[in-house]
């Protein structure tokens, strides 16, 4: 029985990592209605930049700040060059633009910093903790703690600050927000910068876990089932979705894998999300749009 809980908790904690990436999506979707496919590429870019700066001798916190600044600069650039010309276009066009963007950022990241795998040490001890007879990874616990802090900070940002109010207004109706004087470009820049920051945190944690390599950008695909279960516009939903996906993936791998075949964690999240959607087409926390004709 303890083994089951160990697997379950391991899965939940892994799921937290997915949530971190998903939160970046949610932020951008909440504020601009854009499904930012480039989020994964941004995570990769952040991680690569950070680790390359470290390798060139920069101390940890300097590298962090430098990377953060780069991400913010990247966000501003994206807003100016890609988003502004495409304002008011249908969502599918924006989605495809972020597809193109992800290609660009991936290419840029590897052109600048090379394609080898980099190891990343965050200084978190590697020995597992033993709690009630179960072995839990300290790293995973640290990641969960970071995620929790991030979520609390973001909730405060969205719900308690003026800029949070503007963000929610813009997500609802950009044209109307313009009409009441909200500076759209500034809001989008803020959102993408925050998403960049979240991407950095996610990138660091994922990089420490897997090593910083190209396949990091494929993590974005796993975030899609997370978002579907949790709803595209809810941060809390991203957490819950991530937990569910992480747990399901791990449990399926350990318990169903020997029966059906190995490697099923590649598709279990998607099939799960699909079945979920059939029952709840708007996700757990998503808003059900009432179409008025």
């Amino acid at each position: 029985m303890e083994f089951f809980f160990e697997v379950l908790i391991g899965g939940l904690l892994a799921g937290v990592m997915y949530s971190l990436v998903a939160i970046g999506f949610v932020l951008i979707y909440k504020a601009s209605g854009v499904f930012n496919f480039a989020q994964g590429a941004m995570v990769l870019f952040a991680a690569l930049t950070f680790v390359s700066l470290l390798e060139r001798g920069l101390p940890f916190w300097w590298a962090f700040l430098a990377t953060l600044a780069t991400m913010v600069a990247l966000a501003l650039l994206i807003e100016k060059v890609v988003l502004r010309p495409l304002v008011n276009r249908p969502p599918i066009i924006l989605f495809m633009a972020t597809l193109g963007l992800s290609y660009m950022i991936e290419g840029l990241a590897q052109a600048l910093w090379g394609a080898q795998v980099h190891g990343l040490e965050l200084g978190i001890p590697d020995e597992p903790l033993e709690i009630r007879g179960m072995l839990l990874s300290q790293f995973d616990l640290f990641a969960a703690g970071t995620a929790a802090t991030l979520v609390i900070a973001l909730s405060l940002l969205f719900n308690r600050t003026r800029i949070g109010l503007s963000l929610r207004a813009v997500a609802d109706d950009p044209l109307a927000s313009l009409a009441v004087g909200i500076r759209l470009p500034r809001i989008w820049a803020v959102v993408w910068a925050v998403a960049g920051f979240v991407g950095l945190v996610a990138g660091l944690l994922w990089g420490a876990r897997l090593g910083v390599q190209f396949s990091l950008s494929l993590v974005v695909l796993k975030a899609l089932p997370v978002l579907i279960i949790g709803g595209f516009s809810s941060i809390g939903g991203a957490i819950v979705g991530g937990l569910i996906i992480g747990a399901a993936e791990k449990l399926a791998e350990i318990y169903l894998g020997p029966v059906i075949g190995s490697g099923i964690e590649n598709w279990v999240p998607y099939v799960l999300a699909l079945l979920f959607l059939l029952v709840r087409p708007a996700g757990l926390f998503g808003e059900r749009a009432i179409e008025r004709v």
Binding site: F35, V81, V82, P85, L86, R89, P91, I92, I93, F95, M96, A97, L99, G100, L101, S102, Y103, M104, I105, E106, G107, L108, Q110, A111, A115, L221, L224, P225, I228, F232, G261, S262, G263, I264, N266, W267, Y270, V271, A273, L274, L277, L278, P281, E291, V293
Partner: protein, 355 residues
């Protein structure tokens, strides 16, 4: 002056409905077909056939398949490569396990199997709309890839998981030479494009566009959304299945699951974005772009001083430029190259006048 349209008025509806209404266009098309069927095989060399023309034709077909589903019926899909894989593997297994099976029939049945799989993964579209539908086709992509890799029956228990395609013999004629493969591909592509063009101009095509543009209104005027969406998935799956068979049999010469991975699905999606969503001819433009762009880039970099750009960097630069081009297209001409071609043709029709 090129286009003397005076006197070219249709007196019957059927005449107005022709795909190429103007005589000049029809002459142009005949010339193009003649060149493609007769001229190219005489003039072309093996490199052009194998590396450029055949992939160009097959990717155009794949693009049309996806365009029917996404560009006309409005159902977003990232599973194109999976359906191509199903078609290829079904055709391969039919050829292998049924003695005396005609090649074209294997292709067709492979397409039918792909249609069935696409239909299955398209069922959720009845409940789910928009971006959420992506997860269904993504699931298709990953499940199909997993099934084909995991169960070695599909690859005839081949140790390496890669199988060579059987020789292309139709009615006693051997099409295995580069020119032969080219002609086989060309014939199938021309046929399927003709059928596709008829389809998008038919009632079903209009129903698809209605579902794409406003499905509540479509339901109100009596269009069965259920039937339209499922037919879109099935027919698109059929086209992609045939494209997959051609890709494996006529282009690569091998059949393996990893050639039909997610990046292939993205490639097909890019073809229809660049070529033009909701266009038939646009798929040719998009495929041409996708096939020629890397080659052009490679040739350009060969002109630069040696050592400035190595092959690894070249790939990254290609990626960046590609992404940038996609964004540029979406900003400048979201209806793709097809629209640019249309504008050019409008100009040509009134040339040498301006408008």
């Amino acid at each position: 002056m090129l286009y003397r349209e005076a006197g070219q008025l249709a007196t019957r509806y059927a005449a107005e409905r022709r795909i190429f209404r103007l005589r000049q266009d029809r002459i142009g098309l005949l010339a193009l077909l003649a060149f493609a069927f007769i001229g190219v095989p005489l003039l072309g060399n093996d490199y052009w056939f194998s590396a450029i023309l055949i992939p160009f034709l097959v990717l155009s077909l794949a693009g049309l398949g996806l365009n029917l589903l996404t560009g006309y019926a409005g159902q977003l899909s990232l599973g194109s490569a999976a359906f191509m894989a199903v078609g290829a593997f079904a055709a391969y297994n039919l050829q292998l396990r049924i003695p005396g099976m005609p090649l074209l029939l294997s292709f067709a049945l492979g397409g039918v199997v792909a249609a069935a799989v696409a239909l299955l993964f398209g069922l959720p579209s009845l409940r789910i709309k928009g971006f959420y539908l992506l997860v269904s086709t993504l699931a298709a992509q990953f499940v199909v890839e997993w099934v084909l890799t995991k169960f070695s029956w599909f690859t005839n228990d081949n140790a390496s998981g890669v199988i060579t395609s059987p020789p292309l013999i139709i009615a006693g004629l051997n099409f295995s030479s580069p020119a032969g493969r080219y002609l086989l591909t060309l014939s199938l592509v021309v046929l399927l494009f003709w059928l596709g063009k008829n389809l998008v101009r038919s009632e079903l095509g209009r129903n698809w566009m209605a579902v794409r543009d406003m499905d509540t209104a479509a339901a109100v005027i009596g269009i069965r959304l259920f039937k339209a969406k499922l037919l879109a998935f099935a027919i698109s799956g059929f086209y992609l299945g045939i494209a997959g068979s051609l890709w494996a049999f006529a282009y690569l010469g091998t059949v393996e699951p990893h050639g039909f991975d997610l990046s292939r699905s993205f490639q097909v999606l890019f073809i229809i974005i660049i070529g033009g969503l909701g266009s038939v001819a646009g798929n040719f433009f998009g495929a041409a772009f996708i096939v020629l762009f890397p080659i052009l880039l490679g040739n350009l970099s060969a002109l630069l001083p040696v050592g400035l750009v190595d092959s690894g960097q070249l790939e990254n630069i290609q990626k960046m430029l590609f992404g940038a081009l996609i964004i540029a297209f979406l900003i400048k001409e979201p209806e793709g190259l097809a629209r640019l071609w249309q504008r050019f043709r409008q100009r040509a029709r009134v040339w040498p006048l301006r408008y």
